[in-house]
């Protein structure tokens, strides 16, 4: 469904991604694992259109989407949950969630999708009038994912969804990823931790200094010599 081919991204004169190629199939969960500063976020930002690639192509169902502005992507069925939640802090929980259905192409189904995300995240109904900025990190992450789902995406991307969250919340998010995926939505997420990345994904990529150095099924990645030696110290 999503195909990224030979993606290059530069920030000014500094190149941060080199020939990155990856795919996400229909209904697949794919993880991109890499250390801090390896360029994980930039991949997702390039796909959504927040940064402009300097080379390569990004296609969705065969149609080129690289170069499209970010605000059109929700209409094409691609959604991104930004790193560190990035809610609108001075808006209420309900306003934040409803903003997720802002794109004209998805507006009509706002009501039913709201019911769906309220079912996935009961906290939304409980806290609907609260300012999003006043919630805890874990609660904010739930709202951020709900906002990302309001456009009814076929592909939900999440930039470090577990970052800075308590283990109990991490388990909840993992559970949510499963539920979302069970509904046929493909998920592409970033993570620094080997286990979190590859035990919760069908396939994974290892990114080092802006290049993909390894790819394989989640299980194969967990068992791979290089991954074990460098990232698990065994």
């Amino acid at each position: 469904m999503l195909e990224v081919k030979d993606l290059d991204v530069k920030y000014g004169d500094v190149q941060v991604l080199w020939d990155v190629s990856l795919t996400v199939g229909r209904g697949e969960v794919v993880a991109v694992m890499g250390p801090n500063g390896s360029g994980k976020s930039t991949i997702l930002k390039a796909i959504i259109g927040l940064v402009r690639p300097s080379g390569g192509t990004i296609t969705l169902d065969g149609k080129t989407i690289s170069g499209l502005p970010a605000h059109q992507m929700a209409g094409l069925g691609v959604s991104l949950v930004l790193e560190r939640r990035r809610l609108f802090p001075q808006m209420t929980v309900l306003e934040n969630v409803r903003m997720g259905a802002f794109h004209p192409a998805v507006r009509a189904r706002e009501k039913e999708r709201l019911e769906w995300v309220e079912y996935l995240f009961p906290i939304i109904r409980e806290r609907r009038g609260q300012l999003a900025g006043r919630m805890s990190g874990g609660e904010q992450q739930m709202v951020a994912i709900a906002r990302g789902l309001m456009s009814g995406p076929r592909l939900l991307m999440m930039d470090e969804p577990f970052l800075g969250l308590a283990p109990r919340i991490v388990d909840q998010i993992v559970d949510i990823i499963r539920k979302i995926n069970a509904e046929g939505i493909a998920v592409l997420f970033n993570e620094q931790n080997v286990h979190l990345s590859f035990s919760n994904s069908h396939r994974g990529y290892l990114l080092e200094s802006g290049r993909i150095v390894l790819e394989g099924s989640g299980l194969a990645m967990l068992e791979h010599e290089m991954v074990k030696r460098v990232y698990l110290g065994t």
């Binding site: 929700a74 930004l82 990035r86 809610l87 609108f88 001075q90």
Partner: protein, 291 residues
């Protein structure tokens, strides 16, 4: 000083405060969504004044359509200015400074354009409504009642739009996190243009209402934009409710201050208050401390 005199001054302060509020709110709206200081705000005010002068004083068009046309024309010009300058600069590095330079340039350009078109003489605009409102000993020109009524109406409308409409949500979302807003489908560039036009339109409303009270001239925007900056400092840069409260506060403090001293002290009081705020509460009444 009699109680009536004091009350009259207080009411005048509230009415002038409503104008400060509307000017400041425009500036705050623009700063809040784009993080730019619009130094041409006073000139959009000035254009509003001249358009009303042209339509109402010179061509005797009824004040209601005259004001509406003037405000709409200013909004259109502002949208054009935003598209040609700020929208282009925001995408480049160093936009924080380049937008200041650009709006200053626009300000000088518009002042000189007005000078060339209408000359440097102070032009007077007749009152929209004549007569005095009299309650006991207390008297107030209907024009001032009108100023206050329209200002409150316009601000209330803006507040409702920001709070309850899709456009208002998009403005607030863009102001709070432009990237997150783009990801959910908000076209930030278009929101920026409309917000800029709306901010300028607020200045034009103030000008249209004040034109009969003060005279119209190419430099009329200057004192008002300086007050508008004081207002946004009081209220908190970029805060719409803050600008409204700050505007009324400034108007009232000025009015009470000059009844206790004399009218030459007006600006001293205003800037004294601003400096005091910058000293003890630099993020303003409604602003948030920078992270």
């Amino acid at each position: 000083m009699t109680l009536t005199l004091f009350l009259e001054q207080l009411v005048n302060g509230i009415i002038l405060g409503s104008m400060y509020a509307i000017m400041g709110a425009g500036l705050a709206l623009i700063y809040g969504t784009m993080r730019i200081l619009n130094f041409a705000h006073g000139e959009f005010y000035m254009l509003g004044g001249f358009f009303v002068f042209f339509l109402f004083a010179q061509h005797h068009i009824h004040p209601v359509p005259a004001v509406i046309i003037a405000v709409a024309a200013v909004a259109l010009i502002a949208a054009l200015v935003q598209r040609l300058t700020i929208n282009v600069l925001l995408k480049r590095e160093g936009w924080a400074f380049s937008t200041i330079a650009a709006t200053l340039g626009v300000s000088i350009f518009l002042q000189n354009l007005a000078l060339a078109l209408w000359g440097e003489r102070f032009q007077s605009v007749p009152y929209f409504v004549e007569g005095l409102l009299q309650v006991g000993e207390f008297r107030l020109p209907w024009q001032r009642v009108l100023i206050f009524g329209v200002a409150v109406g316009v601000m209330a409308t803006m507040a409702v739009v920001l709070r309850w409409t899709r456009f208002g949500w998009a403005v607030r979302a863009t102001a709070q996190d432009a990237e997150a807003a783009a990801v959910v489908g908000v076209p930030a560039a278009r929101i920026h243009t409309i917000t800029f036009a709306l901010g300028a339109a607020l200045a034009a409303v103030a000008a249209a209402l004040l034109a009969p009270v003060f005279a119209v001239n190419p430099w009329m925007g200057l004192p008002l934009i300086i007050k508008a900056f004081v207002v946004v400092v009081l209220g908190g840069l970029g805060s719409f409710p803050g600008a409204i409260v700050g505007g009324f506060l400034l108007g009232i403090v000025e009015a009470i201050g000059i009844t206790l001293t004399s009218s030459e002290w007006r600006d001293v009081i205003a800037f004294g208050m601003m400096i005091l705020f910058l000293w003890v509460r630099p993020w303003g009444l409604f602003g948030v401390k920078e992270r």
